[in-house]
């Protein structure tokens, strides 16, 4: 088993390196006229800098591999992701400040998604091909088809028009004032959760169906076990293993979803920070967020892979 863990962990490193190199390269390909735009729009304090100084600042004057090496060693040894163009703040600090908001949104959304999707997936599977099943399958597809920003816009507009209420726009941490915090987060988390739940619903249904065809389930039936026992004790545990994968992969979708929802609901998280940085062409921030998110995704996927070793004993012996 430890060989498996080691093997998986080692394999993650090249992926991480390649992904960061990809991000790094993209940012270095910024065309010249964009640099001019950066100069004009975002450098608040020194408007007279010329392109050469800006390039030196971004480290663009050194050869590529030197830049990349400096960058990686900077991250690994000092946690240094550079400074923002706008006001010289360290990128890492700025990201860390906004991280709790996005984390809260993501965790709430994921929990809501699972709470909604897994029961529906199970019911859909055990009542396969009934009207209920078709209804739930349609709902699942609808969930992944309806754009989250439309749903959010509708909800905000209609609650404003009918109930004369808008969600609060001033961020309050959950430990300061849980009620206010929930008022702010509940609707975006619900919408994001709905979008995510579609995929989990379908996955759960598919896996339950597959598991229920297996012989050991038939044995359980012939032993005379009741339906709930069979479902919870035998079928569910096996069916949920791939669902864990899906949840791990969902994190990628969560980040994307949070970008949209944070910008609609004015949540001061990483998503809205990213959007603002794009507008201002603040490339250290763009690069920094990409790198951090990539690292996060690779780590979560690694964790999911490793958790397989615990959940599915068959994997350990491969």
């Amino acid at each position: 088993m430890y060989k498996y863990i080691l093997r998986r962990s080692v394999l993650a490193i090249p992926t991480l390196l390649i992904a960061t190199m990809l991000v790094f390269t993209m940012v270095r390909l910024v065309p010249g006229d964009v640099l001019d735009t950066i100069m004009e729009e975002s450098l608040v304090s020194e408007p007279t800098k010329d392109v050469e100084m800006l390039k030196a600042e971004l480290g663009l004057d050194k050869p590529f591999h030197v830049q990349y090496w400096n960058f990686i060693t900077g991250i690994v040894t000092r946690g240094d992701l550079g400074v923002t163009l706008r006001n010289r703040q360290p990128v890492l600090t700025e990201i860390a400040r906004r991280m709790p908001v996005t984390l809260e949104l993501a965790i709430m959304a994921q929990i809501l998604a699972l709470v909604i999707a897994i029961p529906i997936g199970i019911i859909s599977a055990i009542r396969q091909d009934t009207l209920l099943d078709y209804f739930f399958r349609s709902v699942a597809i609808a969930n992944i088809s309806i754009p989250s920003f439309w749903l959010a816009t509708l909800v905000i507009t209609l609650t404003a028009v009918w109930f004369r209420w808008v969600p609060p726009t001033y961020y309050v941490a959950p430990w300061e004032n849980p009620i206010e915090n929930l008022k702010m987060f509940f609707i975006p988390a619900l919408i994001l959760g709905l979008v995510l739940s579609g995929r989990v619903m379908r996955m759960t249904r598919t896996m339950m169906l597959e598991v229920m065809r297996h012989d050991y389930i038939r044995t359980a039936w012939s032993k005379g076990l009741t339906e709930p026992t069979i479902i919870y004790r035998h079928a569910l545990k096996n069916a949920l293993i791939p669902v864990v994968t899906v949840v791990g992969l969902e994190i990628v979708g969560l980040i994307g979803g949070s970008v949209v929802l944070e910008s609609i609901f004015s949540l001061p998280g990483i998503g809205s920070y990213f959007i603002n940085a794009l507008r201002l062409r603040d490339y250290p921030i763009i690069q920094g967020i990409n790198v951090m998110v990539v690292a996060w995704v690779v780590l979560v996927n690694l964790a999911v892979d490793l958790s397989y070793a615990f959940l599915d004993p068959r994997i350990r012996y491969r």
Partner: protein, 301 residues
Amino acid sequence: MASEVSAVLADQLRRKGGMSPWWEAVHTLFTRKYLATFGLAVLVLLILTAAFADVVAPYSPVALDFPSALQAPSAQHLLGTDQLGRDLLSRMIYGARTSIFVGVGVMLIAVTLGSIVGGVSAYKGGKFDVVVQRLVDAVQSVPALLLLLTIISIIGPSMINIILALGFRAAIGDSRVVRGSVLGIMENQYIEGARAIGAGNLRILVRYVLPNIMAPIIVVGSLQLGAAILAESTLSFLGWGVPPPTPTWGGMLSNEARRFMIDAPWLAIFPGLALSLAVYGINMFGDGLRDVFDPRLRGSR
């Protein structure tokens, strides 16, 4: 996976005594899967609207008419007007054109590029495959939206750039599916046999591998269409999509338009409704296709 598809269809062929596998699939689609047929109808409607936009739309989508701004749906403007006096219905009809254009473009690039990358990677195998798969993993580790936004902020938002960027990202995802299919095919003996009689690599790929992976390619392609339309609309919503004045459904729902929605809720409802129905229909169709081509996965028939 794909070899089993062929096996299932071949079996049906033997039993029915001669209907071509494609007609079999289409037949099943129309007689059994009603929702998928509905989805196909939506898709066809979308394509027709996009193609005949000039004929169908009552007004020009860019005709500014400030005196008529923010009017509720009426006999003159069936879906109302926006903040610049443009007719919403006409904008939505031309928006269909944008969506289809981008969607189909992305789908074609994704399927072509993805098939080549995935197919060659699986066929060559060995170190080449490992390296390519690492690259694919790495690109997939960056959340799609972040990657796309970063790319577009660098190369600039325009219809072509967006189609290329979206197509590239979708191709990466597709290459995984194609690779899996091809790996499955390669385990079959007829590939070995073909090589034994001296068939060259290209011939094997085209004559033996390609027909058998068509089914998953079609399924994945149809799902890409919906995903691409949704992705383009998300980019437009965030302000990085096809630039104005080209009408695009996502752009009509963007943050700039939002401040007028309290006074004019129809601006919020209709573009989003069109988007949702279009993507929903396409996804239903793709889902039905998948059920027909890969009965094992669905478990019902």
